[in-house]
């Protein structure tokens, strides 16, 4: 390969790369639940608070409730819950998986 071709390739890669990523996290996908079957934010917050969690913020991700908060053990985590049952599915602390449903 000649130098000009290498230059062109490198430049193209450098320009294209930052635009090539999608924003979806894809960390977990939950089964589809009808909108009216979803736990409300308040309901899930109440349930988790009763269990000793501190809920700071939640959003919908991959059809699940993704909760930003603190576990009863005091770990700052991002955790996924089933949208209808509120079952704990995945808990990650700064990228370290602390819990995954169905594993142990």
């Amino acid at each position: 390969m000649n130098t000009a071709a290498i230059r062109a390739l490198l430049l193209a890669a450098a320009i294209a790369a930052p635009f090539s990523t999608a924003q979806a996290t894809g960390r977990l996908t939950c089964e589809t639940v009808a909108p009216d079957k979803w736990l409300t934010e308040d309901a899930l917050t109440k349930k988790l608070t009763a269990d000793g969690w501190l809920v700071r913020f939640m959003k919908k991700d991959g059809g699940c409730w993704e909760v930003y908060g603190t576990t009863p053990e005091g770990q700052r985590v991002e955790a996924y819950f089933h949208p209808a049952t509120g079952e704990k599915l995945l808990v990650g602390q700064r990228g370290k998986i602390l819990f995954r449903a169905g594993e142990k």
């Binding site: 960390r27 700071r56 913020f57 700064r94």
Partner: protein
Amino acid sequence: MRFLNSKYALWLLLALPAVPMAAALTGSPRDPAGQPVTEMLLHPTGEFAARFMIVAMILSPLRQLFPRSGFLLWMMQRRRYFGIAAFAYALAHTALYIVDMGSAVSILGEFFILGIWTGWLAMAVMLPLAATSNEWAVRQLGRGWSALQRCVYPAALATLIHWIFVHNNLGPALAHFLPLAALETYRVWKHFTAPTIKRTAQ
């Protein structure tokens, strides 16, 4: 472009991404989606720290590719400002993290997670680099200055690992670091292939 030749104008430009961040900080404690602003700002501050670090690092190999580029020379003469900017955003990133965590116990509690200690390491390495990014330090350190500033490579590696593992997400981190990796690979390749003996065609 002449306006930008003033270092103050360049500083202003480098500080531009901080304007909406500062505005968010002085506004409501939660963003429109309900996320605490200190947590929401962790992403953009960290990203701009990495971006400016990459810009500062990418100039040398780019100049090998385009030795006659006036723009790259212009950038090279101002590289230190990009390094300082990277440090400033990293500092804001760290400060926001500390405020967002709220207590030493919770910070220490997650210190040894791979995605966290690598971030602290990158910050620790950047500290002396930023502290010596001035004329006086350049004069005092002489040859040692360049050797010291080369610590930016381990800092960049730590930043990359921090970015990937703190969210278990390869995409955004690689999108930023792949161009740098490609250029550094080219640089190393060039280094080992450069002193070739010119042969005449037979």
